[in-house]
Amino acid sequence: MKETAKAEDGVWELRLYVAGQTPKSVMAFANLDRICKEYLAGRYRIEVIDLTQTPQLAVGDQIVAIPTVMRRLPLPVRKIIGDLSNTERVLIGLDLRAPTAQP
């Protein structure tokens, strides 16, 4: 019921895996935050997971490289590796083009 509600609300659940404050991790968060504000205003949630603190969290989502952003909702799951500075690539990778093009 809850899941459906979320899907209907169209809330995006994103997870960013980082390893401490490396330059790429810092960059990735800033870029992701900027892109979401622009394309998903009010409809997203970013969870930052620092694998230097909790490496065991990498297993479930099969994370091998850092930084990685993962789209958990809506399904299907998608992942992008890197500092997300190429906005074009992020939009395609997260499949964010379509909604903005529709209205």
């Binding site: 390893a19 401490g20 404050q21 490396t22 330059p23 790429k24 991790s25 810092v26 960059m27 968060f29 800033a30 900027r34 694998l51 230097t52 490496p55 065991q56 990498a58 297993v59 994370i63 091998v64 490289a65 850092i66 930084p67 990685t68 992942k79 590796i81 890197g82 500092d83």
Partner: protein, 725 residues
């Protein structure tokens, strides 16, 4: 189930696999082009995160340690990186800044300055300087920005110039003050001159006053100028003193009268590891190592509080816990009234000097042993030679099997005595080394019988020679010594019994030999030290601490290497390697079986030996071997000898009392040019023998030698190689 039903399932599976392949390729691509800066690796300890450190890593460490602040900001104002100093300058922490936008920096001056540098175009910005009040003082910071090559970010260096400015300002103020005073005085005097001029211009004597005043004014000006330049000189002298203290190699500490540190110089920071900030307010007790007792510190304190200078030596502890040694002078500092206001300690790190001194003492110890051994060796070997010869003769004459066994034991003991002198000489590098091509297997085989006798009954002995010959260029006696020393140690390590294995084999370009025991092993903490001279774990009187040091020296001198291992399951293995010889000359067997000695055929032998016991023993043996012997006690007797028929061989001691052995050979050869010569010596310094043998075609025998060696050496000089059977 039809084909059509299966197709969608397979198609989904293929699609799934394709996605996973793409994901894997994407991951590899990201890592390869440097988009990722960390990887997660699964291992036995679970998942671990590894940061990928690029070639820039050393620079990052450098940046971390700089005394300038450093920060990298993207074009959008995102703070990507900063060092600790930068965070300190902003009174915050690194973690609180990284990832923030510069807009969120609370200090408005810094914020504006960073924004300006970010906006400036060009490779390198002009330095920007800002000043603001912080904690009641004016802080001045200088910023320089550099645009990074491949992206739009800017790296900014921040230098704290507050102190420099404060100093400049103080100097400027004091100079201005001086100049103001000059101006005031000048004006005062000028107006006085003016008054005088107006009131009494006509009066001549007043004129003279005025002239005098003008002169006084000039003088006053000159005095002031001198004062200024003196003041400048004194400032310069102060600066010079400060520079000396700052740059001195000695560490300098100033404390107040209760010992609280008020100043330390950079050398102190370098030597102790404590920074200026960490040291101030502390006492020198932070360096206390516990190597000096309370009485030591009491003496020090009572000396300096009484106003004397204290000189002494400390073993102190660095911040990282390591120890160092320093020579120190601590003096009281007095003010103009003579009251002690401070103490100043000047200390020199002498750790290296102390270590060098230790090494020197050690070298001198070895030198002394060498001299002692060299002095004793000659006489000692003569004694052994006499005993050995007598034993050989007794062995020939005694048919009783029980006696024969005792004689063999006696012979063994004499050889052990000989080995002891040799060990000392080898250790002091005073042994003459004679290299020949040898098969390591054969040395091991020859030693087997001997080892059987020295190894106790509760120890099983295993010998495994290699299946191929192991040709090495080596001194037989020295290599035997190595094996004997290693075997001896192994036996000593197994007081309760065990197994001793000696194996030889062939590696790449090297022959190896392993001596393993099943003893207690060597604790890891002392494993590095076992080859050090005089290092022993044996009880006093049981070991000299020389054995392994000699082994190490011999192997090194032969161009080989030796290692020690203590496997987890117990025991110790020493393994050495020696370079293999590629070309090998045929080598005669070491010792032919007893009873099959090459006999003389009545050749005339002249024996010159000053030790009576040795002379008589050797004469008897030479006769037993079938030679006609004439024996004399000195070289002078030898050259005076009244003989018509020439001698075939001269057997002479090298170090005779009176005419030396070499001289005897030279003089007799004038008479009988074809006479062969064998020099015998208890001990001679290395080099002397080698040179003599090389120049004069002597044969050479080292005392003590046995009958077999003597018999073979005689035949070797009498039968030239081409004429042998």
């Amino acid at each position: 189930m039809t084909v059509d039903d299966r197709v969608p399932a397979e198609a989904r599976e293929i699609e799934d696999l394709r996605m996973r392949l793409e994901e894997a390729e994407e991951t590899l691509r990201a890592i390869r082009i440097g988009e990722a800066d960390g990887v997660v690796v699964s291992g036995p300890q679970g998942d671990q995160v590894f940061l990928l450190r690029g070639s820039e890593h050393p620079y990052r460490l450098f940046v971390e340690e700089m005394i300038e602040g450093a920060v990298t900001i993207t074009a959008a104002g995102l703070i990507l990186l900063c060092n600790r100093r930068f965070a300190d300058l902003l009174n915050t922490s690194v973690d609180a800044i990284i990832g923030q936008n510069i807009d969120s920096i609370p200090n408005p001056e810094v914020r504006t300055c960073l924004a300006t540098l970010l906006a400036s175009t060009g490779k390198r910005s002009d330095p920007e300087e800002i000043s603001y009040s912080a904690d009641g003082a004016v802080r001045s910071l200088k910023f320089v920005g550099v645009r990074l090559v491949d992206d739009a970010s800017v790296a900014i260096l921040v230098t704290d110039v507050s102190e420099a400015h404060a100093r400049e300002a103080a100097l400027r103020r004091s100079n201005e003050e001086m100049e103001d005073r000059i101006r005031e005085r000048t004006a005062a005097l000028a107006s006085k001159v003016g008054e005088l001029g107006a009131a009494r211009l006509a009066a001549l004597n007043m004129m003279e006053d005025a002239v005098g005043s003008a002169r006084a004014l000039e003088r006053a000006n000159r005095d002031l100028k001198l004062q200024i330049s003196a003041r400048r000189e004194s400032e310069k002298a102060h600066r010079r003193l400060a520079t000396v203290v700052e740059q001195a190699a000695e560490s300098i500490i100033i404390t107040n009268t209760s010992g609280v540190i008020e100043y330390v110089n950079p050398a102190f920071e370098r030597i102790t590891g404590y920074t200026h900030e960490e040291s101030l307010g502390q006492t020198p007790r932070i360096l206390k190592s516990g190597k000096q007792d309370a009485a030591f510190y009491e003496t020090l304190w009572s000396a300096i509080t009484a106003g004397s200078v204290w000189n002494g030596h400390f073993v102190n502890k660095r911040k990282d816990g390591s120890l160092y040694e320093e020579d120190a002078t601590i003096s009281p500092v007095r003010d103009n009234d003579g009251t002690i206001t401070n103490f100043v300690a000047i200390k020199r790190d002498v750790t290296t000097e102390v270590a060098l001194g230790e090494q020197l003492r050690h070298a001198q110890k070895i030198e002394a042993i060498g001299t002692l051994a060299g002095g004793v060796a000659h006489d000692f070997n003569n004694l052994l030679q006499a005993m050995l010869t007598m034993v050989e003769l007794l062995k020939r004459k005694s048919a009783e099997p029980g006696n024969l066994e005792h004689l063999k034991q006696l012979e063994m003991t004499i050889r052990r005595g000989s080995s002891l002198t040799r060990q000392l000489l080898l250790f002091a590098r005073r042994e003459t080394s004679r290299r020949e091509n040898l098969d390591l297997n054969q040395i091991l085989g020859d030693l087997f019988a001997f080892l059987r006798r020295v190894v106790r009954e509760n120890i099983r002995l295993f010998i495994e020679p290699a299946t191929v010959p192991l040709w090495i260029s080596a001194d037989r006696g020295q290599i035997e010594q190595v094996i004997m020393n290693l075997a001896g140690n192994a036996v000593d390590a197994m007081p309760e019994g065990g197994a001793l294995s000696i194996a030889a084999g062939r590696g790449e370009n090297a022959a190896w030999l392993k001596v393993s025991d099943t003893g207690t092993g060597i604790p890891e903490t002392i494993r590095d030290r076992v080859f050090e001279p005089f290092f022993t774990t044996k009880a006093a009187g049981k070991g000299t601490g020389l054995g392994l040091s000699v082994v190490h020296g011999i192997i090194a001198a032969h161009g080989g290497r030796i290692d020690v291992e203590c496997p987890a399951e117990g025991g110790t293995t020493f393994q050495f390697e020696l370079p293999l010889q590629s070309v090998v000359a045929a080598v005669t067997a070491a010792t032919p079986p007893e009873g099959d000695l090459p006999n003389g055929r009545g050749e005339r032998v002249l024996l010159v030996e000053d030790e009576q016991a040795v002379r008589e023993g050797l004469s008897a043996i030479l006769e037993l071997l079938g030679y006609a012997v004439v024996a004399v006690g000195t070289g002078e007797e030898a050259i005076e000898i009244d003989a018509l028929a020439p001698f075939s061989v001269l057997l002479t001691d090298f170090m005779l009392s009176g005419m030396p052995g070499i001289e005897v050979v030279r003089r007799l050869r004038e008479r009988w040019p074809d006479m062969k010569a064998i020099l015998v010596t208890g001990y001679a310094a290395p080099g002397v023998i080698d040179a003599a043998v090389a120049a004069n075609e002597f044969e050479f025998l080292q005392k003590p030698f046995d009958m077999a060696v003597l018999a073979q050496t005689l035949r070797a000089v009498l039968d030239p190689p081409g004429a042998r059977r």
